[in-house]
Amino acid sequence: MDLPFSGDLIAALVFPGVLGIFGFLVVAIWLERKLVARVQWRYGPLYVSKPLGGLLQPVADLLKLVFSELVLPRHTNRLFFAAAPILLFFAEGLPVVFIAAAPGVVMAPHPYGLAIAVVLVLLVAVLVVAMAWTEADKFTYVGAVREILLTAAYEVPLLLAALAMFILYGTADPYGVVEAQSNLWGAVLNPLAFVAYLVALLMATTRFPFEIPEAEPEVVLGPYTEYGSTLFIYAFGANYVKLYVLALLGSVLFLGGWLPAGGLAGVFITLVKMLVFVLPAMLVRAIYPRYRIDQALRIGWGKLLALSVAAVALSLVWRLLR
């Protein structure tokens, strides 16, 4: 394309890649704390860097965590204990390999790229459970069981929402998907799938109404209880990486990706469209209380499943009409 240097290197190192992931971690944590604070009529993090509105707060948190003592509990397998969060964080970031952020800005263009990305997102829950199992703690044990159950609630609707869009476009190639949306966005063509995807995104990233595995009043931090120091950044930040990946995937699947621009401008348009998924996910923390696990399961297998099946039916109708 018309990029100054090779697009896949930009993809690997800057936007959907490494810098994007770490930058999103900092900005999303700051944005979440600040938005929630403002909804609750507070200021949120402020004094750490007053002119920037406390933007350095996550940086300070990360520095403090990096330079605090690393405790590897005696009763665990120390190698797995240290490796599990690193693997988790890495696996959460892996789906960006197959998602294009702009024409040419993709690491591995593949005809089934988006489908592979969806499947990779769904596979990661195993690592959370493995991590919790390695920690061998009462709270992580309960958190792991809750994580499994929550996964059971969101996996099928998320897959069905993706299936609806693939039926609609007839392809899972990121370029093909975006090209198919050149007239109308997928969110307009199939709003049911969009809503189902949004709710499944909240469940998948354990945002607030479904923040069941790490419910602070019940199980201390769920699967992340035992981790301190740098490993805590990875264990807890993995959720934000998942949010990043799902927002990127959603902006390509539903909001037309980099359209109506191409090249480097497309990257910025994708970034702006990601906000459509990220902002509500940040804001729900200040809005909803937490569901019980049976309520979440009932929503997943009741309304959400019906919604996503209806979305698939709508896509089938669109497909047959065309």
Partner: protein, 116 residues
């Protein structure tokens, strides 16, 4: 392909490098208490593994079945010829069957007493 390799190396390298920084520069004062299991500020008590209530595990059986069906549908859609109305009809019927099964047994799945 090179881009994927670069991504993996840089990403994993950054993650491991931060842990190494912690290992080198963070203060360390290991003690026996610090390395115990975390139990909300008390000494560890009792075994970690408990018996689970099986009340919701019907959903997990369900998800293994339904997800496989949806996965098959995904593969079928992505590999099918552009115009295959029979395929879409099959998918619609499959999903309708899933919906009917879930609706039919939804009460059972929600009933805690039958699973415990």
């Amino acid at each position: 392909m090179v881009a994927i390799l670069i991504f993996v190396v840089v990403f994993l390298g950054a993650l491991v490098a931060l842990v190494v920084v912690t290992f080198l520069f963070a203060p360390r004062r290991p003690s026996e208490i610090k390395e115990r299991r975390f139990e909300s500020g008390g000494p560890p008590y009792g075994p970690v593994q408990r018996r689970l209530l099986m009340q919701y595990f019907g959903y997990i059986y369900l998800v293994t079945v339904v997800e496989a069906a949806v996965g098959l549908a995904l593969v079928a859609v992505l590999t099918a010829q552009p115009s295959a109305p029979m395929l879409y009809l099959a998918i619609a019927l499959l999903l309708a069957a899933v919906l009917i099964v879930v609706l039919r047994y939804f009460k059972v799945l929600n009933d805690i007493r039958r699973w415990s």
